[in-house]
Amino acid sequence: MPEMTMGKALGAGLRQAMADDDRVLIMGEDVGRLGGVFRITDGLLDEFGAARVIDTPLAESGIVGTAVGLALRGFRPVVEIQFDGFVYPAFDQIVCQVAKLHYRTGGKVRLPITIRIPWAGGVGAAEHHSESPEAYFVHTAGLRVVAVSNPQDAYTMLRQAIASDDPVIFFEPKRLYHAKGEVDLAGHVADAAPLGLARVVREGTDVTLLTYGAQVTTAMDAATAAEDDGISIEVIDLRSLSPVDYRTVTASVRKTGRVVVTHEAAREAGVGAELIASVTEKCFHYLESAPVRVTGHDIPYPPAKLERHHLPDLDRILDAVDRVLDRPHSLSEVAQ
């Protein structure tokens, strides 16, 4: 199996999807000649032509709104939003149109639209280039929301997203675009785990650590470090945020009895809140301690020089692990 970066794997996924189905279109700002600001669509214009790789006007609502019309005509548009912070102008089209048209028409209209979003922080970017808006979309019925964490998933899940007859919000952690891994390019999409399935990245018995996106890497580092203290952490990469694969999640929680959730996005009404509420409903009697969230602060994304204090790192995760295990931790002396 070839080794490649996540960025290359995404490009390979797009290329394969376009080769497999000539109704697949790429559209977005700078996706043609430039190959996208992250070069994910590099080479696709030359290979598939300007009718299928569309450099659009600089208008996010326009990009998503025209994708709706193209889907009505039977195309499968793959839309690139240049950066997470620029998805907001398209929010109305995504939430009111993309998410609802299937329901509104009683299933008569399908919108197989994939909206790719280079996502989240940790890359020292300028303002509006490091946002984690996933909760807005998870809260919206009618959308599937996925986040990838490695090259193989990037390749496979992107193809699955494009093949899905539902609209998919596809989050790509910018922090991992250059992370390398082996990718099986020959595998059939049909043989892969379904799009909605979580993955147990590391098995453990003491604590279930739930996460997604670039935080999977940090969570794995934390689990490795915890091992030195004799703590066994099970790390789950959710991969799909809507729907969440609660079968995998609750099986793990029933085994460990302890839950920590970590994500970059702010805490308030975030994905972690939903995960903990659901886990508590589904396996309250298995819980040995109150679940804990390790998230970004409830602030607008900070300037680059401060972002390392915002993003949950290995130590903050380990501190939370100490909390659920009732070991001494940073809040031991603080009234909780």
């Binding site: 279109l25 009718a51 299928r52 569309i54 659009t56 006007p57 208008a59 609502s61 326009g62 998503v64 709104g65 025209t66 994708a67 709706v68 019309g69 193209l70 889907a71 009505l72 005509r73 039977g74 195309f75 102008p89 109305d92 089209q93 009111c96 149109q97 048209l101 299937h102 329901y103 509104r104 028409t105 009683g106 299933g107 008569k108 209209v109 399908r110 197989p112 019925a141 009618g142 599937r144 899905s164 007859d165 539902d166 909605g196 809507s242 729907p243 969440v244 694969d245 609660y246 079968r247």
Partner: protein
């Protein structure tokens, strides 16, 4: 006026004198630009336009009545706007794809909407009724202006398919303030997409006069996007037909988008929840009453000896048949079972919804005994 029009000779944006072929008194006027487009319209064709407009008006009145009687939750009256709705939709081919707002009931009638299609969503039984792929019409849009982009996207799809269909975006004067309508014009123009924008300028966006949306004739904006436009008397079904045929031809020939501003008037309230006496005076209404699209076509038909009692009776019968079915569909509607509310959220199985359905079904099953007792 200080804008620079495009070179298209059909360009016409004069604020005070929209293009006209039929005066309010029903007299034929000459307009060298428009006339060629309706040369084929004989008396029978004109009668057809009258019939459609008359049915639309009766449907509208029935909608208001049904709402007042508590059968519908809301209705958006279209009285006064029949000419542009009927003319524009009739000018289209059946396979052109139309993207209406909530007020284009005349467009849906021309498209062959069943009587139930016009009432079941206003009643709150379903969110939309007909199959868009069958009628070649998107569900009525409530988010102002959103559909303009859908139309452009559809038109871009037509280009890629090598088809010769045109997509038509309908919206009001208020919608022209929305980013989506402006983005749609950018996309449509940049890609030369076969799309026609039909703005029904009915002078009001709920309580806001068109001057709040624009200090400039709306049709005058399109040239700034590189889109030729026409400003027509929206109550003149002949001018509307001619203008729409020009616009469709322009788009179908691969010349890119065209824009129509139909200058018309909403005679009734914005919706049945609205009270227009709070923001507009009766003199304005009376002025527009004299420009009624139906009365002027009737006068013209009488002039050419194509309107008599038998014809009126015939049209009345058609309208009555339609409204009777509408009423029956509303009054006789059966509300779907509670579990239906979880249908069609996703196209493919979704574990979250599946679990929700399972739990809700179990909850509902708890009442099963009560109902049988």
């Amino acid at each position: 006026m200080t804008y620079t029009p495009t070179t298209d000779t059909a360009q016409h944006t004069d604020l005070d004198a929209p293009l006209q072929l039929l005066t309010p008194e029903g007299e034929r006027r000459h307009d060298a630009r428009l006339e060629p487009w309706i040369a084929d319209l004989d008396a029978e064709a004109l009668q057809g336009l009258y019939r459609d407009m008359a049915i639309a008006r009766r449907v509208d009145a029935e909608g208001v009545a049904l709402q007042r009687q508590g059968q519908l939750g809301l209705w958006a009256p279209a009285q006064g706007q029949e000419a542009i709705q009927i003319a524009s939709a009739r000018a289209c081919r059946p396979d052109d794809f139309l993207f209406p707002s909530y007020r284009e009931l005349g467009v849906l009638l021309v498209r062959g909407a069943a009587p139930a299609d016009l009432v079941l969503s206003w009643r709150g039984e379903v969110l939309s009724t007909y199959d868009p792929h069958e009628l070649h019409a998107a569900p009525p849009q409530i988010i102002i202006g959103a559909q303009a982009l859908h139309a452009v996207g559809y038109a871009m799809g037509v280009q890629r398919d090598g088809g010769d269909q045109v997509a038509v975006a309908y919206f009001g004067d208020g919608a022209t303030s929305q980013g989506d309508v402006n983005e749609a014009m950018v996309f449509g123009s940049s890609f030369g997409a076969p799309v026609v924008f039909v703005c029904s300028n009915n002078q009001w966006a709920i309580s806001e006069p068109v001057t709040v949306q624009s200090k400039f004739p709306i049709a005058g904006r399109a040239p700034g996007f590189g889109i030729p436009s026409l400003r027509v008397d929206g109550n003149d079904v002949l001018a509307c037909t001619a203008a729409m045929r020009w616009a469709l031809d322009h788009a179908r020939r691969g010349e890119g988008p065209a824009f129509l501003e139909a200058v018309t008037y909403r005679m009734g309230p914005h919706t049945t929840s609205d009270d227009p006496t709070r923001y507009r005076d009766s003199a304005e209404l009376e002025k527009w009453r004299t420009r009624d699209p139906l009365l002027r076509l009737e006068a013209h038909l009488r002039e050419i000896d194509a309107f008599d009692d038998a014809f009126r009776a015939d049209v009345d019968a058609d309208a009555l048949s339609y409204t009777t079915q509408m009423r029956a569909a509303a009054v006789g509607a059966t509300t779907r079972p509670p579990l239906a509310l979880l249908d069609s959220v996703y196209a493919e199985p979704h574990t979250g919804i599946d679990e929700e359905r399972e739990h809700f079904a179990a909850y509902l099953a708890g009442f099963a005994d009560e109902e049988t007792r």
